[in-house]
């Protein structure tokens, strides 16, 4: 088990390096001179040259790349924002809690509500409760999150005035982003856990448990749920990836100064250290989440645990 974790962590570092190289290269290839973008077209050639030297963009591509990788992975320094001169790591640290509140609470809502709805639908298979749940889920799976967010702002913030439409002045500001951010995930999770439950309901070992004289409630809790957890965890993993993608959109719509918004502003201003820093951060976040998810699998399922410990079949 320990060996497996080490192996996974090594893989993770490799993936992060790859992500850093890709995003750095993409930003490098964006047309236009960063110094000119920062100082404007009127700036004289000497000033521009001084700026290039300061940013280090006058050096060849490979030197810049290795310099960046060296600082990120060996000194844990993402550099300073070109435009604001603020250290990217410091800025990320300040913005992280806001993104985590939206992502974390969204995730909890996603898992709890999605799973409960899925189990509810599965245990009422074929009845109207099942159909209703699945129709609603279908709607939210299909509706784009920014549209849902706007509609929610119009209804709850502007018309009913229950919550502020944007900003982070009070904790109530977070209510709409959290709910809007989790709706899509809830819907996906509900569908996933419904089909997982349905599969388990028909499994032979459930009949075995009933044949022992086990109470139906206990059969659901002890035999069905743990077995249905596997696909549900997979759904949670997918949901985590959505937190990352979703935070950019949500933070923009609700004007929340989180990491997603930071990344978007970085992209708009060709601010390479900001964009690269955010991407590497998101990649690390997702990789760690996936690792935790895989460890949950192993914890729940002795078959997977056996695979990991014996060192075979490690993906």
């Amino acid at each position: 088990m320990g060996r497996y974790v080490i192996k996974r962590v090594l893989w993770m570092i490799l993936i992060l390096v790859a992500a850093a190289i890709v995003v750095f290269t993409l930003m490098y290839l964006v047309p236009g001179d960063p110094a000119e973008l920062l100082l404007g077209v009127e700036a004289s050639e000497e000033v521009l040259a001084a700026k290039r030297a300061e940013l280090g963009t006058d050096r060849p591509y490979l030197i810049q790349l290795f310099d960046y990788l060296y600082h990120v992975f060996l000194k844990f320094d993402f550099g300073d924002s070109w435009r604001y001169r603020v250290n990217v790591m410091t800025e990320l640290g300040q913005r992280l809690p806001r993104t985590l509140i939206i992502g974390g609470f969204g995730m909890i809502l996603n898992v709890v509500v999605g799973t409960v709805l899925g189990i509810f639908a599965a245990t009422h298979e074929g009845k109207w409760q099942d159909s209703l749940t699945m129709v609603i889920a279908m709607v939210f799976v299909s509706a784009p999150s920014f549209w849902v967010a706007w509609m929610a702002i119009i209804l709850f913030a502007q018309t009913l005035m229950w919550v502020p439409p944007s900003g982070i002045s009070t904790w109530t500001c977070y209510i709409l982003p959290v709910i809007c951010g989790s709706l899509g995930g809830i819907a996906i999770n509900a569908r996933q856990s419904r089909s997982a439950m349905l599969e388990v309901i028909r499994a032979d070992y459930i009949t075995t448990a009933r044949a022992k004289g086990q109470r139906e409630k206990v059969v659901v809790r002890r035999h069905m749920l743990p077995n249905a957890m596997m696909p549900i965890i997979t759904g949670v993993g997918g949901g985590l990836a959505m937190v990352v993608a979703g935070s950019a959109v949500l933070e923009q719509v609700f004007s929340i100064p989180g990491i997603g918004q930071y990344m978007l502003s970085g992209v708009n201003q060709r601010d390479r250290p900001v964009v690269c820093g955010c991407v590497v951060f998101f990649a690390a976040f997702t990789s760690i989440a996936m690792l935790i998810m895989d460890l949950c699998y192993a914890f729940l399922d002795p078959r997977i645990k056996a695979q990991y410990s014996s060192g075979r079949k490690v993906k």
Partner: protein, 325 residues
Amino acid sequence: MENFLEIRDLVVEYTQNRDTVHAVNSVSLSLGKGKTLGLVGETGAGKTTIAKSIMRILPDVGARIVSGEIWLDGENLLEKTEDEMYDIRGSKAAMIFQDPMTALNPLMTVGDQISEVLLLHNVKDKKEAMEKAGDMLEMVGIPRERYVEYPHQFSGGMKQRVVIAMALACDPELLLADEPTTALDVTIQAQVLDMIRKLRDKLNTSMILITHDLGVVAETCDSVAVIYAGQVVESGTKEDLFDHPAHPYTKGLFGSLPSMAVGEKRLHSIKGLPPDPTNLPTGCAFWPRCPYATDACKGDSAGGAPGISGREITPGHFVRCLKEV
């Protein structure tokens, strides 16, 4: 009620894609205390459905016991509430399932799965249950140290032993063994059956043994019922059926057996296929495959089948056929 188990006119249907599957069509069976009844018949004949009906563990969705009575030890199980059934399942009546590979919960240790049934019926505290579950494992030839292992660490034959240990843990008075050896290697089959027989004799359990193997029937059963398309087409003592089969289907099945002394013979195959249970033929269900079929066998236009309801040819030997023996 003289018989320990008596099934009367049991009718069970499944609903599948809006079609009605007529899985069990008016089956009557009886079994004395300590006796063993063999159920034989092709796949899809309805054998498992009969066994699950006795336990009342048919799936909630899509399965329905339409009518009939199942008397166990003087009580009609079909009139019991779900709460009353909890006490009967696993304790008074237990079942061994067809496929050991899927019958165990993959996320629970085998020991805990045996303890579970003990805690439900026989013992109150966890320690004692673990002790007794260990005993059960040893009884079926598995070292008790393996209590803490998971099903994936066991071979098919050992899993089936665990299932058997589970079924016998609370000394059931009725054991329903559904093809307990079909999924196992030939070499293991004899061992597992031997074990079931020994345990049955030790506990004086009544048993319904569902099997394809006529050799097993000859060695294990007192009486036999042949199931075809959800009906008992012939039933009687083992001797009746092996030595004087009366129904053309039974004859076909037992056809190549010169005598029951020759063991280990599988069911003979018969030309044609069993009927579609969503659309059974009128009259005798076997007529499309029967070499002796006459117009009378095909039933009348109303779908009725006069005279095919079954007759007793010698005491205790029933056959559902118009043809005189």
